[in-house]
Symmetry: C2
Subunit: 208 residues, 2 copies
Amino acid sequence: MKRDLIPPPVVWRLSLYLRELQALAGEGVEKISSRNLADGLQTTDTQVRKDLAYFGQFGRRGVGYSVAELIRRIRQILKTDKVRPVVVVGAGDLGRALLRHKGFLSKGFEIVSAFDISMTRVGTTAGDVPVRHLDELQGFLRQFDIRLAVLAVPPQAAQDVCNRLCELGIQGILNFAPISISAPAGVTVRQVDLTAELEQLSFHVATQ
Amino acid sequence: MKRDLIPPPVVWRLSLYLRELQALAGEGVEKISSRNLADGLQTTDTQVRKDLAYFGQFGRRGVGYSVAELIRRIRQILKTDKVRPVVVVGAGDLGRALLRHKGFLSKGFEIVSAFDISMTRVGTTAGDVPVRHLDELQGFLRQFDIRLAVLAVPPQAAQDVCNRLCELGIQGILNFAPISISAPAGVTVRQVDLTAELEQLSFHVATQ
């Protein structure tokens, strides 16, 4: 099945299953049923089986899944079974927090460099990741064949940087700038809008 | 209409509309049609009108919306028309980046304090926000009537801290820990999983 035809919620749940399986593996669990995997993830065993069925045959009836095997298969599907290099553009507070974040590497992502235009940031490192000048982006991306980028620039710069990234062969952009950006066909953009997340909570929570 | 019965995607789009309207207001735009508002947000004018209709009467046929008025009304709906205090639990790299983030206040959220257990963090500030010891959380929440919290603790601590927050009257939790947490009825939890976001991109992007 073509990847673009798989419903986005299915792919999203693969990440949820993977996170849960990784936690279970950390606790030494070796086998799991679809029902146990569904528990705590606000989903059902039917949903788990249906989601996995998009990608082939998993587990055995009545036996359940091998945790290690299912982790391996889901990582293949998500293409994180080999470490993928990622660049971060924008090395402000959020960008630097991402550089220092220890959790990405074990999940298959390595932030290899950050880029910025501020001379107080260029030349520094955060979490051992160097911050280079944005002018070096083109040479860097040409040299290392990187497909994934995180955008942590101010909103007014986001579309310009996005255009530049797409021209240089970036195919997936995680945008933290609080503004919608558009990218050409073939480039996937996801936005993380922290204010919008707080607003969703606020909507449901009584005022003081 | 009861808030819990309004479809979550409708509430999510309110945030998207608000972000777009705030950008337009910043550019000096005073009037906007539902079509223009829908453009760039990957939605349609029909959707915009349908979403807003959940909350009453907006704009006038053929005249469009007043940008300022629509911002005011959406903020009332999202309950961000008055500044809401927020606490951050966990003052590691991500927590500190949130404390330093300048964008929340103008959107109606003020991070008033962070809490941590690390003695190298307690007593410091980030972005002028003090980091207090987690032991002070109870007294602080009792004193200030705060309903919203951000969880930026390690995954193994997330559920415990969540339980504590719920006991102390927190009703909305934004969880950055890469683990599912459960909360009692009446508490809304939203999870931001940055690894899952990268995985969603990776799924669609060719490997090197």
